[in-house]
Symmetry: C2
Subunit: 337 residues, 2 copies
Amino acid sequence: MNWYLQTGKESDVITSTRIRFARNLQGFKFNLKIKTDIEKLKNKIKENLYLIGYGLKYLELKDMDDITKMSLVEKNLISPEYALNKNETGAILINDEENICIMINDDDHLKIQVFSSGFELENTLNYSIELDQKIEEVLGYATNKKYGYLTSLPTNCGTGLKASVMVHLPALEKTRNIDKVFYTINNFGINILGEYGQDNKNNQNIYQISNKRTLGVTEQEIIENIRVVANNLIEQERNARKFLAKDTIDLEDTIYRSFGLLKNCKKISLDEVQSLISNVKLGTDLGILKELNDSKIQKLILFTKPASMQKFLGEQYEPLERDIKRAEIISQIMEEK
Amino acid sequence: MNWYLQTGKESDVITSTRIRFARNLQGFKFNLKIKTDIEKLKNKIKENLYLIGYGLKYLELKDMDDITKMSLVEKNLISPEYALNKNETGAILINDEENICIMINDDDHLKIQVFSSGFELENTLNYSIELDQKIEEVLGYATNKKYGYLTSLPTNCGTGLKASVMVHLPALEKTRNIDKVFYTINNFGINILGEYGQDNKNNQNIYQISNKRTLGVTEQEIIENIRVVANNLIEQERNARKFLAKDTIDLEDTIYRSFGLLKNCKKISLDEVQSLISNVKLGTDLGILKELNDSKIQKLILFTKPASMQKFLGEQYEPLERDIKRAEIISQIMEEK
């Protein structure tokens, strides 16, 4: 099963972990703009792919339909900017499990990404380092004694490492502590963003936290910093849940009403569904809601997103039908044995 | 089964029919205020009750607890004013089926009421007349050649007859035609009031329509007038439902969301429950909602009202618990086989 449909350690709060290395190859300019240069880069990667292994396949963005591309964005496998700006020249390396996805010729030649369910900083980092070393062996990176791995943007220099975890913070939101948390985390050298990195707040109460600095710190220091902040968030969120659980009936009422609406609606917007899913996820995580389980909730999170919906249904539909189809998918997922 | 838990003719729109006669006995002043006079009146009725028959039992309001009294109001068997003002001296004659309820010493000596489920003007009137004649034989009424039956209030004079039907008009409400309907009906010599006669609008979209005039018209003319207006309302409401049903998904969504909330809420106010019940009743009447039936809906309507809830549970509860208990009752009624 794909990592994004699984649950892992501490997944009541941390839904997933990602390690991303920004890397550039020797012998190529940074931030390639000229088509022949880009083709040369991609050819080098394609020709040597068999030496890298890891079950990676080479896919050009221009060979994908929009729905496939959008569903990669919805799964956080590629950034929305990459999907949009590299429509013609972009290409990715991806394996069947989709826990490795490498964007080629984003602002760097390679954005190597490794994903895990739940809270898995150490294992994901180790696996990423292994993969990174293999790619370096095969393709050769641009490095510098002073700055470490050289990157197109100075913010990615040094380790080139961005470590991030997705956190589900419904109780901090409901108890109106989320702004305080945002403020504290920002002062801690950590970014906190809505999913896809687009906005700070979202209906599903899922946020991405990641390191700001990549230079002058070691990889271990980066993940240690993220770990400390994440553990602090886990503690704060769990305390907020305990606080909410004191007024059991209010909490149960919110959770079960959300469940009832999800189960019975005949049309539903993305905004509403994400807010309801956030509530039922809180309900299963607290052991209040028995009618759903983690795996169904992971499916609900993914397959209610516009492009993934069409992947799930195996058919396209008119924009007007979207909210109706979404309700159908929800009911289908909920009724699965 | 009690009439108010049953459904009858045209019960998609007309939930029940009531015929009420205002009558006064010979040999007693109108509108008795002095306790000994009232006792005399009640004694005469009590002593002759065996001659009237109809399974009627004599009950004093002061022997009832507040919950019993309130539940009579909730079932529309006695008026809220009567329950409040005749707390000490009031008494009723009522049968086991509760389709006959006679208030003693309201503004008239007797308010004879007969109830039916659904749209049953003719049968209910005939049965009322039979009962009325029997009571007249036994107790003797105050009458006058010019004014017919004499009543304490001139508005009840003549026939002393108030015929009323309860109508469920959710589609006229949703299509925002209800104010127009109110306006037209008022000009037709017909009163339209919320349930209990308290206010014009209510969350459950159930209204009482009744004749304004009692003098200078025959009983047949009164019920004919109500029948015409009721039939017109049935037609307008059904047309509005057809109109709503054109946008099937919107209507289904509203109905099933209401069902989902009723089924899953853990606490709920009277206002909200009545609005949700109105929607699910519309759903079963239109054949859209299969998960409920008329009988369960009649139970939901009655047993979510404060006093009837306590009757249903067979126990009292703290006011703070009311919304929680209400949710429990709903789930219990819904799950009944």
